[in-house]
C-alpha cells in the first residue's frame, strides 16, 4: 500500500488539471483510500500518469540487425553497469533489451508499443520483450504486404481475409495491426515500389495500396480490436508526399485509423532542393477528421538509425547517404531496411524535417489525437523525448532554434510563426492519456480508481528537459521502480495480447498454402502462449463478430 500526498496531479482523462490531491495505491491498482503503508511526500512535485509510447521499435529481428550493424554506436553509448538491481547493457540509438526497460522507466514511461512485428519473427520479438524489464508491452503485426492476405484481396475474398488476419494476430500474440507502405514492400521484392495509391501493386492485377489500406482498416474495425489500424503511409520521406498522405486519409473515411510518424508524410516540393513543410495543410485536414489519431515521429538533430519495413525507401536513403545498408526479406510477409543516419541542422532537408514534427504537434489542435513519438530510433532516440517537451512548452526557445537554421530552410517552414505553448496538462495528454485512449487501454494513462498504478512524479522545473528527463519517482504496478534516478525494482511488466474471433476452420485453408510457400512448418509458426511472459489477454470490443 502506498499513498502519494501533496503532489499537483495532472490526470487529463479525469479532467484533473494541476489539483493537489492524494493518490492511493493497493495491489498494483489505484484505489479510493488506503490505511497504513508507506506515504510518499510529493509536496511541490508534479504527478503524471506513467508515459505511454504508442510507436517505437525496441525489440525483434530488425532491431537486432540494427544493433549488429552499428557497433560504433554501442561503443559511444551510455553504459549500464551490473548492479544489485540492474543487468549490464548499453544505451545509444538501439539500446539493449534490459537497458531499454531502464531507459523508458527512468524517463517515467511505463507502457510501450513495439510497432512492427512480422509473424515470422514474432517469437524473437517476444523473447526480447521478455527481457525488457519494468515496462508493459504490446506489439503491432505487419500486415499490409502479407501475400496470403493480398492474394485473398486480389480474389475479392474479404471474408476469408478477415479470418486470416484474426488468426495471424493470435498466432503472433500481438495487440494491433500495422500497415507499412501498403503493397510497396511486396513490390520491392521485384525491385519496385508502390507510389500510386490507386494503381495495382506490382505482381497483382487488381489489388491497390488504397484497397489494402481500406480493407485492413475495415477488418480491424470489424474484429473490434482496441487499437485501430496503425498505418505507415506510402511514399514515406519523399518530397511532395503530402498528396499521398491526404489521399490515404480520404480512403480511410468511415473507419478508424492511427497515422504513424506523420512527420515523415507531410512534405511538399518536387525534389530534395525544393522540399518544404506541408504541416499546416495536413493539420487542417486532420483537425476536421475525427476518425484519425496520429503520432508525431519528430526528428531531433544527431545520430539515429533508421529501421523500417519500408525496404525501397531504405535503399534510396542508402544511396543518398553512401553509408551502411541492411536489407531483410521476410518471406511472404514483409521486408526490412536499416540505414544509420545523422540529422544535421545545416542540412535543408533535415532542418525541414525537424520543423515539421514540431509544427504538427503545435498545429493539430486536439492533443487527444496527436502523440509524442520520434518513431524511435528513426527520427531520434526515445530517451530524447524531454528535449521535444521543452521545445513544445517554450515558443521563445523554438524561435531561437529556428533562427539558427539555414535561411533557405526558414523560408520552407512555419514553425517560427507559431506561438502556441503546451501546458503541463497537454503534455500529460500527448505522453500518456492520449496514446492510452488511442490504444484502447482503459487501465492506462489515467489516475482514476481502478487504473493500473503507473505513475511518474517530477520535480517542478521551468526547464522542461531537466524536469522530464529525471523523474523524482516512477511507480509501476504500485511498486516504486525509480527513485531519484536510481533503478530500485525491475519486476517484469505485462504483455498485452488480443484474441480476435476467427473461424477455427481457417487453418484448413492456411495450412496447405503455408506448407507450399513457407520455409518453416505450420505447426512451428504460431507463438505459444507460454513464450509470452506476463501475457495479459485483452478482449476485443463489442462489434467483433465472426
Amino acid at each position: 500500500m502506498l499513498r502519494i500526498t501533496g503532489g499537483k496531479v495532472y490526470d487529463p482523462a479525469n479532467n484533473i488539471d494541476g489539483v493537489v490531491k492524494d493518490i492511493c495505491i493497493d495491489s498494483g491498482k489505484i484505489v479510493a483510500s488506503v490505511s497504513g503503508g508507506r506515504t510518499l511526500d510529493a509536496a511541490g512535485m508534479v504527478v503524471f500518469p506513467g508515459g505511454v509510447d504508442i510507436h517505437t521499435h525496441v525489440a525483434g529481428a530488425a532491431l537486432n540487425f540494427a544493433r549488429a550493424l552499428t557497433p560504433e554506436n554501442q561503443r559511444a553509448a551510455a553504459k549500464f553497469m551490473h548492479t544489485e538491481h540492474t543487468r549490464a547493457g548499453v544505451g545509444g540509438p538501439t539500446p539493449t533489451t534490459f537497458a531499454t526497460g531502464y531507459l523508458y522507466a527512468g524517463m517515467g514511461y511505463t507502457t510501450v508499443v513495439e510497432a512492427a512485428v512480422p509473424v515470422l519473427s514474432a517469437k524473437h520479438t517476444h523473447e526480447e520483450l521478455n527481457d525488457t524489464p519494468i515496462i508493459d508491452k504490446a506489439a503491432c503485426l505487419l500486415m499490409a504486404n502479407n501475400e496470403i492476405v493480398m492474394d485473398l484481396l486480389e480474389a475479392g475474398d474479404a471474408e476469408r481475409a478477415r479470418h486470416v488476419v484474426a488468426w495471424l494476430i493470435w498466432a503472433a500474440k500481438v495487440y494491433g495491426v500495422k500497415a507499412v507502405n501498403p503493397g510497396g514492400v511486396t513490390a520491392w521484392k521485384w525491385g519496385k515500389d508502390a507510389k500510386q495509391l490507386h494503381e495495382p501493386v506490382y505482381g497483382y492485377s487488381k489489388v491497390t495500396p488504397a484497397q489494402i489500406v481500406s480493407s485492413l482498416a475495415r477488418i480491424v474495425d470489424d474484429l473490434g480490436l482496441p487499437h485501430p489500424l496503425h498505418l505507415h503511409c506510402n511514399n514515406l520521406g519523399a518530397p511532395g508526399n503530402i498528396a499521398t498522405t491526404l489521399e490515404t486519409m480520404k480512403v480511410l473515411e468511415g473507419n478508424r485509423a492511427h497515422m504513424a510518424h506523420l512527420q515523415f508524410h507531410a512534405y511538399g516540393g518536387d525534389d530534395w532542393h525544393t522540399m518544404r513543410s506541408e504541416a499546416a495543410q495536413l493539420a487542417e485536414y486532420f483537425n476536421k477528421h475525427k476518425n484519425l489519431t496520429c503520432d508525431a515521429g519528430a526528428v531531433l538533430f544527431g545520430n539515429a538509425v533508421t529501421i523500417t519495413a519500408d525496404g525501397p525507401w531504405q535503399h534510396l536513403l542508402y544511396q543518398l547517404t553512401g553509408r551502411k545498408w541492411g536489407n531483410l526479406d521476410v518471406e511472404n510477409e514483409t521486408g526490412c531496411g536499416i540505414v544509420p543516419y545523422t540529422y544535421k541542422g545545416s542540412n535543408l532537408v533535415n532542418a525541414v524535417q525537424w520543423a515539421v514534427g514540431l509544427e504538427l504537434l503545435l498545429l493539430i489542435d486536439d492533443p487527444w489525437r496527436i502523440f509524442l513519438t520520434t518513431d524511435h530510433p528513426n527520427g531520434a532516440c526515445f530517451w530524447r523525448y524531454p528535449e521535444i517537451i521543452h521545445l513544445l512548452m517554450h515558443a521563445d526557445v523554438r524561435k531561437e532554434r529556428v533562427k539558427k537554421l539555414p535561411a533557405k530552410a526558414q523560408s520552407r517552414i512555419v514553425l517560427g510563426d507559431i506561438d502556441r505553448e503546451y501546458s503541463l496538462y497537454e503534455i500529460a495528454i500527448i505522453t500518456s492519456a492520449g496514446p492510452a485512449r488511442a490504444l484502447g487501454m482503459k487501465q492506462k494513462g489515467h489516475l482514476g480508481v481502478g487504473a493500473d498504478a503507473d505513475i511518474a512524479i517530477f520535480n517542478k522545473n521551468p526547464d522542461g528537459e531537466q524536469m522530464f528527463r529525471y523523474p523524482r519517482y516512477v511507480i509501476k504496478a504500485g511498486e516504486i521502480v525509480v527513485e531519484e534516478g536510481d533503478i530500485k525494482n525491475t519486476a517484469n511488466g505485462q504483455a498485452f495480447v488480443v484474441k480476435p474471433a476467427f473461424d477455427e476452420k481457417i487453418e484448413d485453408f492456411l495450412k496447405p498454402v503455408f506448407q507450399q510457400q513457407y520455409t518453416m512448418s505450420f505447426e512451428n509458426y504460431p507463438v505459444e502462449t507460454e513464450r509470452v511472459h506476463g501475457l495479459k489477454l485483452c478482449e476485443p470490443e463489442s462489434g467483433g463478430s465472426t
Partner: protein, 272 residues
C-alpha cells in the same frame, strides 16, 4: 618518471587501458599500484602483474615483454610512454596527444582512431594500424604513426587525416576506404592497395601492383611533396624529392567508388 616492469606473463592478454600518463599523473606510488587492470573479466591491481617505481609523472616507462598487454596509452593526451619490449594490440588507440615509443613490435589496431600525438614503433606492427574500428565511419583523424619494420592488413583503413609511414612492406588493402591523410609505404605493399579510397594520398617507394580501377595520370615531381618531405624529415622519415633521382607516377582512383584519391609510385631514374 614512473617505471613499471612486467613480473609474470598473464595467462590471457591483460587489458591495461589505465597505463596512460593521463591516468597516472598526480598519483602516489601506492595509488598507481592499485590502478585497475583486467585479466579477462577479472579486475586486478596493477601490482599483481607489474613492479611499480616512481610516482606523479606524465613520463611512463614500461619494461618486460608486454606483447600480451593491450590498450596501453588508450586515449592519452599528454606525456610520453616508452616501451622497452613489445606492445600488445590497440597501443595508442583513440590517442589525442603526447608520444609513444616502442622498441619492439606492436600488435594490431596500433593508433586506431587516434586524433593526435606521435607513435613510433622500432619493430614491426600488426594490421589495421590507424584504422577505423569495425563500424566506425573514420579511422585516425590526426597525428602520426611511424613504423620501422613491416605492417599487416588494412593499414590506414578509413583514415581521414594524419600520417602513417611504414618503412618495411605492408600486406593487403593498405588505405582501404581511405578518406584523407597520407600513407607512406617505404617497402611497398601486397595487393589491393587503396581499394575504395575516396580521397587521400598513398606514396610508395617500391613498385605496386595496382587495381584496374586506378588510372595512370602522369609522371612528375609534385611540388607539394617537396614541402611535405621537409615536414617528414623532422619526424625522421625521408622521401626522395630530387627530380634528378627519379619521378613519381601518379594514379588516381579508386574509380569503382568513385574516388578522388591518389597513389604515387616512386620510379628512380634509370642509370646511364
Amino acid at each position: 618518471m614512473i617505471t613499471v616492469r612486467l613480473k609474470k606473463q598473464p595467462t590471457v592478454p591483460l587489458e591495461a587501458e589505465s597505463l596512460t600518463p593521463d591516468r597516472l599523473v598526480g598519483q602516489s606510488n601506492a595509488a598507481i599500484r592499485a590502478v585497475p587492470i583486467y585479466l579477462g573479466k577479472r579486475q586486478c591491481r596493477l601490482d599483481e602483474f607489474f613492479d611499480v617505481d616512481g610516482a606523479d609523472s606524465d613520463q611512463l616507462e614500461i619494461h618486460g615483454d608486454t606483447g600480451r598487454v593491450k590498450w596501453i596509452g588508450r586515449e592519452m593526451s599528454r606525456g610520453t610512454i616508452k616501451i622497452h619490449g613489445n606492445a600488445g594490440m590497440h597501443l595508442g588507440a583513440y590517442m589525442r596527444g603526447g608520444r609513444i615509443e616502442a622498441a619492439g613490435n606492436a600488435g594490431d589496431w596500433l593508433g586506431a582512431e587516434m586524433t593526435g600525438g606521435l607513435i613510433r614503433v622500432a619493430g614491426n606492427a600488426g594490421g589495421q594500424i590507424g584504422a577505423a574500428y569495425r563500424g566506425s565511419l573514420a579511422g585516425m583523424k590526426g597525428g602520426a604513426i611511424l613504423v620501422n619494420g613491416s605492417a599487416g592488413l588494412e593499414v590506414g583503413m578509413r583514415m581521414k587525416r594524419g600520417i602513417i609511414a611504414v618503412a618495411g612492406p605492408v600486406r593487403d588493402f593498405a588505405g582501404l576506404q581511405m578518406k584523407g591523410g597520407t600513407i607512406i609505404l617505404g617497402g611497398g605493399a601486397e595487393i589491393r592497395t587503396g581499394a575504395w579510397m575516396f580521397r587521400g594520398t598513398i606514396i610508395s617507394l617500391a613498385p605496386l601492383q595496382l587495381l584496374p580501377t586506378f588510372e595512370y595520370a602522369a609522371a612528375y615531381m609534385p611540388t607539394f611533396l617537396q614541402l611535405y618531405a621537409k615536414h617528414l624529415r623532422t619526424l625522421g622519415v625521408s622521401l626522395p624529392v630530387d627530380s634528378a633521382a627519379g619521378v613519381y607516377l601518379r594514379h588516381s582512383g579508386d574509380h569503382s567508388v568513385p574516388g578522388k584519391g591518389e597513389i604515387f609510385v616512386w620510379q628512380p631514374a634509370s642509370r646511364g
